[in-house]
């Protein structure tokens, strides 16, 4: 899976840190650091983090397994996530 956070948009609400603590972390009060290439086991947590971001700053690929994005998309053809 791949992800990128638009840090111009991010306002440090830290919902992603709550939902996917192994992918996102706050560095200090509001600076976000994240793993742009998280492990597959993070899929469901990452999906929740993406959905929960109040400013919709997270773009992720390989989340729903539809193969809709990316010729080289990691994690296509896997289980479709519910609750998004």
């Amino acid at each position: 899976m791949r992800l990128v956070v638009d840090l111009n948009r991010c306002q440090g609400y830290a919902q992603c840190v709550f939902f996917a603590p192994d992918v996102f972390a706050l560095h200090g009060e509001e600076a976000l650091v994240y793993d742009p290439h998280p492990d597959e086991v993070q899929r469901e947590r990452l999906a929740r983090a993406v959905a929960a971001c109040p400013v919709q700053a997270i773009t992720a690929e390989g989340l729903d397994g539809t193969g809709e994005t990316g010729e080289t998309a990691a994690g296509t053809g896997e289980a479709v996530l519910h609750g998004r």
Partner: protein, 464 residues
Amino acid sequence: MAGDDFLRWLRREGRIVIVGASLAGLRAAETLRAEGFAGSLTLIGDEPYEPYDRPPLSKAVLLGKASPHHTELPRRREIDATWRLGVAATGLDTAAKRVRLADGDEVAYDRLLIATGVRARPWPRESEARLDGVFVLRTRDDAVRFRRRLDSSPGRVFVIGAGFTGSEIASACRERGIAVTVAERADAPLVGALGGVIGAVAGELQREHGVDLRTGVMVTALEGDAAGRVRAAHLSDGTSVETDVVVVSLGATRNTEWLAGSGLGAGPRGIACDAGCRAFDFRGIVTDDIFVAGDVARSPHPLFGYQFLSLEHWGNAVTQAETAAHNMISASSERRPHIWVPAFWSAQFGVNIKSVGVPGMGEQIMITQGSRAERRFVAAYGYQGRVIAAVSFDNARWLEFYQRLIETAAPFPPDFATVDRRAEGRAPMPADFPDPSLPTHGPTVTLSGYSPADRRLVFTPSRH
């Protein structure tokens, strides 16, 4: 072909070539497909990698929280493109509409997007730049090499230049417990981008975190040992610092050399284009088939006196690419201007620094919220009686409000009360930017009037 017929043909079976396969190139390609471009699409990139994100390379990667090999950008959609990666574009024939490649190939286009970006400015003395232990940090390969060296626990890292990248590197090293010396020509870090008032805060942050910060000095020489490894840096104040790692963070150079002789208005300051992202030729006539986006572009912005802005900003690359792509396949009445309000961020020493507007235009600054001593504040910049920019330290949520002030040319100093106003924020003070006639190493925003024949920008070190 009449205009409408041509556009229909272009959208159905035209050839679009994008030179530059990084953030701007990828987002442009996605936008073209999203807007219905069904012709052939080719992306050319000099690096052998698919588009990857660079901001993590000086932050999460150095902290060991991300791999330098895995910052590839997520795709927004399928783009069905031909990728020519690992081969640089070396020339452009605008009459024949062909891009020449380093391997001798030529690629024909009907519409061209140039998004070749910038590269790290190397240490000017080549023999010293080649010493083992001397690094720059811009690309994935740079990050792999530098991270490997950091992982081997060097005795000291010496950073030349306290712009954003240099400061972020210093921050990551300190967090890893590595001794750091930072040498900066100005009187404080970040002065070129944010001015002396904010630079002073950034300098205190560095020293509090144990950085050996040397300001008002230049590095005069890098010294190597018999085996060709760097062992010391010599400074203009007569001192020298023993070090086994040197990182050269002297800003960036625009990748326009390959356009020499093409007739485009391209030079060391980038490629001039109109607000619709169409490139100017060197005569000042706008082209209609060549577009520009990202760090390499220089375009006029109505909010900032129609000055041509070069913005080496992540967000600019995304929005300018989207606008350029839209305009490439749209009739002139459907075209949009690129009027994105500049914005960027930096994380260093545990503080989230964000900016909107063009701080470099600021004559005055006012701490409108919070306090510098607490490292938590918003500062507004004023230019000719209006708000022109704002910077926040750990106060990002307010910036959107300041963006509205900038967009509406709200009066400066602000004529209303703000939350958490302190004594230090009662009155504006000079923003303290260096004299623009003495270029600094790396303001993230460079401003200039439009000149069709680009004047040469000469690097003139200031004297201290």
